[in-house]
């Protein structure tokens, strides 16, 4: 039981990293399922995430629309155009969150 890490460390380290990276390559098929579970946690967690994703897309869209309106002096029009786009982006976010991942 030697306490210091001398001796055959480099080669062992190399083999360890090789094995690790192989594991890392093998792992990707599993993460999507586990990460969905871990991120969602409980039903409350999933609900909160869904709400935040939807609303944040809408907030960004309204901000863009309102900003462009201010610049081009077209007050309601671009906001009106961007609000449905923001809703669609929110749904796209959700799809990306729950879609079955391909490899």
């Amino acid at each position: 039981m030697s306490q210091d890490q001398g001796g055959p460390d480099p080669s062992f380290e190399d083999r360890l990293t090789a094995a690790r990276s192989k594991q890392g390559l093998d792992a990707p098929p599993t993460p999507p399922s586990t990460d969905g579970g871990a991120l969602g946690g409980s039903l409350w967690g999933i609900g909160l995430r869904v709400g935040i994703e939807l609303v944040s897309a809408l907030v960004v869209a309204v901000a863009i629309g309102y900003g462009l309106d201010r610049i081009f002096h077209t007050t309601p029009i671009l906001t009106v155009v961007f609000v449905p786009l923001g809703g669609a982006a929110g749904v796209a976010n959700l799809w990306r969150m729950f879609a079955p991942k391909k490899s």
């Binding site: 030697s2 890490q5 897309a57 960004v60 982006a89 976010n93």
Partner: protein, 252 residues
Amino acid sequence: MAAEGSSSIDALGQFQLHPALGFIGGSVNFTQANLMMVISGIGVLALLWFGMRPRAMVPGRLQAAAELSYDTLLSMCLEQIGPEGRKYFPFVFTLFFFILFGNLLGVFPYFFTFTSHIAVTLALALLVFILVTTVAIQEHGWHFLSYFVPQGIPKVLLPLLVVIEVISYLSRIISLSVRLFANMMAGHVMLEVFGAFIIMLAGLGVLGYFPAGLSLALNTILIGFELLVAVLQAYVFAVLTCIYLHDAVHLH
């Protein structure tokens, strides 16, 4: 803190910033939030420094904690980002532990949760966003813009979908920051409200003792819940950073 008048609950007063470190802090506007950030930074460094000091073959408790944290985060990076994840591991590790220590320190009485301020979480989310975008541009150059063009769609829909993708990309800043901020703030508001209930109900006399005890029990449960949320939200922040980095490195 709260319930100085027996009819009002000051649930948001706990989030107010005050100068820390007395006169010096007051003159440079060094608030208790800044102090907590420094403490949490020092805490992470102390965990790693003192944890890894023995360099024992069979780790002690602190060394096991330090090694385990390193290992967990590294494997998460490699899993989520791929082999390139090793490059971004230091960033994700720092981010995770800064947020984790901030969240956990906030559970202690008289301490302040700096992650309950949207200014802080927004700054962190912007940092992640800018880093991810920089990485994507660095890795792919102008080809990075193809990230906003979904594959296999008719040409007619392209302008519409590109706008939607851009909005969805930008919404990451908001969702990342609001998630952490809302979770931390909601937890502490609940603790404050039920803490105020205890005092107010106990002040009612014999009739109030039972409900006061109930809210005390509830507050105890909430503290445990708050610990869970603190770890979970730090983890979610780190995992989402990894997922975004994966997107940046691989595009789609």
